[in-house]
Symmetry: C2
Subunit: 340 residues, 2 copies
């Protein structure tokens, strides 16, 4: 039995497990929480992410170690030889280093640096550990930045897109169709794939440049702003990504299965679209499951997490839906539609 070890036992780990069990893989997860929702699909080592002993217990006997979030301490990941490798993690953890990498690769970004460089208004973000809009504020007047803060030009973008791709050990790359994402209060709410009039070629070019520069192995996601017909790279995540959850139901091979295939040196699966899909995140409360399952061609994915305001506890993929169905799913999946 091939064992895959994963730093982090949240929903991404859980969905890796669900995709990997049918490939004959077994899973072990490291997570500080005994309630980590991946526990239902593998063994759980409960410890902090930087606990050396726990990391050793995680890795023993594993064919490969991976991670499901980008704030794993780099030394911890490197110490157990995690894939994707430490370079992706280093850049992915630090917004400044990430943007500098984009720039060095000729990938357009919004202006960034000090406020003099970005102009006003600007977004000021912590360089590290921000997610879902946390750790960022809008700045309209010149003010001193704190240590560890970075300013970014406030881009009046037309829409947010993401390209998710996978690179195999032999350097082969494949990409899923570009998704179009709607955030609210800093949290992803809806992804439509493919995005209408998707700039697929340009997005793949950006992603390829990044994958090759990092010598990357596994699934990566790049968030993009489209502004005046131009693509600006906003950030990347060296892992499976919320904006490609629709691939479980809407693509020939899901991002989860292809991440596993890549890191294990197995042949990649087709990333072709099976059907246009809309993914709606379930945020906060337990949703009305019956109503969601009554929606035509709806595929429900709950993560086994306790409800909490603002928390992603599941998603629904709608296959080739009409707009009425999308609106209904969004209403059912929002805090207000939920019951808890």
């Amino acid at each position: 039995m091939t064992l895959v070890a994963c730093i982090g036992g949240g929903q991404l780990g859980r969905m890796l497990g669900l995709a990997g069990l049918p490939l004959g893989l077994s899973f072990r997860f490291l997570d500080p929480s005994p309630d980590a929702c991946a526990r239902e699909v593998g063994e759980l080592v409960v410890a902090p992410y930087d606990d050396r002993d726990a990391l050793d217990r995680l890795a023993v006997g594993a064919a490969v170690v991976t991670y499901e979030f980008e704030n794993v301490p780099v030394e911890a990941a490197a110490g157990v030889g995690a894939v994707p490798g430490p370079r992706a993690l280093e850049h992915g953890q630090d917004r400044l280093s990430e943007k500098e990498l984009f720039r060095s690769l000729g990938i357009p970004t919004a202006r960034f640096g000090r406020l003099e460089e970005t102009g006003l208004p600007a977004l000021v973000k912590t360089r590290r550990l921000g997610y879902d809009g946390k750790g960022q504020r809008r700045v309209d007047r010149d003010e001193p930045l704190e240590d560890g803060e970075l300013a970014e030009e406030l881009v009046a973008f037309d829409r947010e897109l993401s390209i998710v791709g996978v690179r195999a050990r032999d350097g082969e790359t494949r990409f899923w169709p570009v998704g179009e994402n709607v955030h609210r209060e800093g949290i992803l709410r809806v992804t439509r794939a493919p995005a209408r009039d998707a700039p697929q070629v340009e997005a793949e070019r950006i992603c390829t440049r990044l994958l090759d520069a990092l010598g990357y192995v596994g699934v990566i996601a790049v968030e993009l702003f489209e502004a005046g017909g131009r693509l600006l790279a906003n950030e990347f995540a060296p892992r499976v990504h919320n904006t490609a959850h629709w691939t479980i139901d809407g693509a020939e091979t899901s991002q989860f299965e292809n991440h596993l295939r890549a890191i294990l040196g197995l042949p990649l699966g087709s990333t072709a679209l099976r059907a246009p899909s809309v993914m709606v995140n379930v945020i906060g409360g337990i949703p009305p499951v019956e109503e969601l399952l009554e929606l035509p061609r709806a595929h429900l994915h709950l993560y086994g997490k306790a409800p909490r305001p603002g928390r992603k506890i599941g998603h629904v993929t709608l296959v080739d839906p009409d707009e009425e169905t999308v609106a209904r799913a969004v209403a059912l999946a929002s805090e207000e539609g939920g019951r808890g």
Copy 2:
């Protein structure tokens, strides 16, 4: 968290678990083997199927109890209120009672009973506990039958088909496209869905009659012989079935998910075809995974079972394949292609 309890922890239980975890369900299985392969997707109670204490432990806190094979002792299943109900199990466990039920419902079957009734040559089967061609022999001359044996007319059928359907608590029924099945040495090797020129309407009529007569809830499979344009019911299985494993990849909703939806009183999902599919069972040895994953649009499902000659340890679904791909998969998935 809604808990589903399942008598039996084999691959069918495992695939129920894999389908149910995304619905927010948790699982507990009862199996005599501590290695039961469903253990990776739920809690495992290790005990014989008729152990009263173990059955109670299995059922405590469960929203519903179901089973994944038809040789569960009827009293054991009834004692914990298992769904589908005991009538289906009683008939499904006894070939004579099963055929008499078909006859009473006006569903055509091969002749059965004593050798005088069937003519020669005939197949003589044990009334109980036969599976995968075990417990049956061909008889060419008149001879006395043992107690508990049943003769069946040896039908020169053109092909073997199966219809798999689901009935909800409110009586709604849905059916997947009829599959065409190839057995070798009594073991299912390949299912093609839909069968070419499938007698869908007639097959659904047969299945509906059975489902309604039994007041059935859940997924059922009926194996059919097609002989001279006529359908003869061979047997039914009151559970999810190997000939509908292709529905995981090829149908809008899999048999596993719809079984769970039915027994939990949730709305049924669409049984529509996503794409024509061919399922190939992996028999005996661990297959060459890399080669299988290289096949176009191949979806691998291994069950985490130790290899053993003649044992079903997985299956591969090929989505809309050409005949060359099917032949290659069959070669890779057979004992000879396998490595163990």
